[in-house]
């Protein structure tokens, strides 16, 4: 038996046009639910870029003995820089430390006025590639053999906001976790919703399926047009959803950025491209599987 791809494609498109009421419902359902998923993922991406930014601002600061020999400090710095997890380090001299304090306390000049001399120690600021390795690096510093030659008190003089980091991490992880569950929920919902409409469409046409079978159509002969139709509906739905998403990305996001310029929100192009591809593939896949699942019980004639 000849296989007839052109016939199947024509049938699929024909059916979609002739059952406009049904296919428009399927397409709008697909568009809406994929759009919801897309909007959510966009928000998630933005949130992620925030946390990356926030975390990149975390640092470890090691306060040095006033009396530390400069070669030993240099050696210490080299050691730290040799670790993979460390991005850069910055040496802060006593004078720079005072400058920074002045900057910080510019609201409370009376405190500075009351200070005599420069009580501040020099320090090394350590910036990590990934804030998650903070504790580990702190541990490594504490195990540095010559630590006592550069640092007075290994408990007190290595600062990294232990408490703050814990909170931040747990908030980020909880939000990530909630976001992930929500993403899963939305994906699940959109799959169910799309499959629901496809099921209804095919249910409404179950008699046609039975007739086709009774007239001698093989299961695949019946299935192909429905499958293609489902895929096409998924594809069209996804395309519409992407159109709206693109509008949001370009137009709404610009508005938001105008309103809060101090948060630098942006979505990288490649990420958006991936999202679009994912939605299109998802739409087609859901359409195909939805149709074939829905068809199964009516093909048993």
């Amino acid at each position: 038996m000849r296989i007839k791809p052109i016939y199947f494609a024509r049938e699929a498109i024909d059916n979609m046009c002739k059952n406009f009421a049904m296919s428009s419902a399927a397409i709008s359902t697909a568009a809406l639910s994929l759009f919801l998923v897309g909007v959510f993922l966009l928000m998630f991406f933005i949130w992620n870029s925030f946390t990356v930014e926030t975390l990149s601002k975390l640092e470890i600061e090691v306060f040095l003995k006033d009396t530390a020999a400069s070669e030993q400090v240099q050696e210490f710095q080299n050691k730290i820089l040799s670790w993979d997890e460390v991005d850069t380090i910055k040496y802060v001299s006593k004078d720079e430390a005072l400058e920074r304090l002045k900057e910080k306390l510019k609201d409370k000049p009376e405190i500075l006025q009351a200070m005599t001399g420069n009580p501040l120690p020099p320090s090394i600021r350590i910036f990590l590639r990934d804030a998650h390795s903070t504790e580990m690096i702190v541990g490594k510093i504490r195990n540095y053999p010559n630590l006592e030659s550069v640092v007075e008190n290994s408990k007190q003089d290595i600062k990294y906001g232990a408490e703050y980091i814990d909170k931040l991490f747990s908030i980020i992880s909880i939000i990530g976790w909630v976001g992930l569950s929500a993403a899963a929920l939305l994906c699940f919902a959109s799959i169910v919703l799309i499959i629901n409409t496809l099921r209804l469409n095919i249910f409404a046409r179950r008699k046609e399926v039975a007739i086709m079978r009774l007239v001698g159509a093989s299961k695949w002969f019946v299935r192909w047009p429905f499958l293609l139709e489902g895929m096409l509906q998924g594809l069209i739905g996804a395309t519409i959803a992407i159109g709206f998403l693109y509008f949001i990305k370009v137009w709404v996001l610009r508005k938001v950025i105008e309103m809060i310029p101090f948060l630098n929100i942006s979505i990288s192009g490649p990420l958006f491209t991936k999202l679009m591809l994912g939605m299109i593939l998802g739409g087609i896949l859901i359409g195909a599987t939805g149709s074939s699942i829905a068809l199964r019980r009516f093909l048993k004639v």
Binding site: R213, A217, F221
Partner: protein, 228 residues
């Protein structure tokens, strides 16, 4: 061609709509299936194309075991058995032409062959000029003729017809009858359920009569009812 052995069909599992039917129809025969409304004619035809599976008994068509056939093989059986359904069973979203063409698409006929055969058959049943009408835009009798055209367009060796003239006037019925006769003469086995007493009595073919699901009469060159 058709062989039914002790076939019983009980829809509800208790009251048989067909009761211990034994029937043999040879290749090339023409058989009228008669009987009052509700006697089981349509049920018998549905069993033959495996729209239904019998409660009990064996059915063979051209030597193939219909009862134990796998679902995914059934379409091969149906391609060799044309069927005119009592309720037409036309695809509502396809035109008359497309409905007939569908039976050819299904067996993988190339488009150019379909473009020749389908119109030819439609003309034969008197539907010239109504090729592009949807079933909903055809009269009852016209729909019935589309169903008939679809049933024999691919020249199946066995043609089942469930009251194919129920919605037709006597003249067209006569034409259809002589068409079926011609089809039969080319070697096709025809089993036709009918209520048309005149037709049955006029042509004098083999008559199988059902009543309350029982085969009560099987008569070569028979008539519609005894009372005639």
């Amino acid at each position: 061609m058709i062989k039914m052995k002790n076939v019983t069909m009980a829809y509800d599992g208790v009251n048989p709509a067909l009761d211990e039917i034994n029937l043999q129809v040879d290749r090339g025969e023409f058989v009228f299936l008669v009987g009052p409304s509700g006697s089981g004619k349509s049920t018998l035809i549905k069993l033959l194309i495996r729209e239904l599976v019998p409660t009990k008994g064996e059915i063979f068509i051209a030597g193939h075991d219909v009862v134990h056939m796998k679902t995914k093989k059934v379409h091969l059986l149906r391609r060799n058995v044309g069927c005119v359904f009592q309720d037409f069973k036309l695809l509502p979203n396809k035109t008359a032409y497309e409905n007939v063409a569908f039976a050819l698409e299904v067996i993988g006929k190339p488009e150019h062959a379909i473009k020749v055969q389908a119109p030819e058959v439609l003309k034969l049943v008197g539907l010239n000029g109504k090729f592009d009408r949807y079933p909903g835009e055809l009269s009852g009798g016209e729909q019935q003729r589309v169903s008939l055209a679809r049933a024999f367009v691919n020249r199946p060796p066995l043609l089942l017809a469930d009251e194919p003239t129920g919605n037709l006037d006597p003249n067209i019925s006569l034409e259809i009858m002589s068409l079926l006769d011609r089809i039969n003469k080319t070697g096709t086995t025809v089993l036709m359920a009918t209520h048309d007493r005149e037709m049955v009595n006029n042509v004098r073919k083999r008559v199988v009569a059902l009543e309350h699901g029982k085969l009560i009469r099987d008569q070569a060159r028979g008539v519609y009812g005894y009372e005639d």
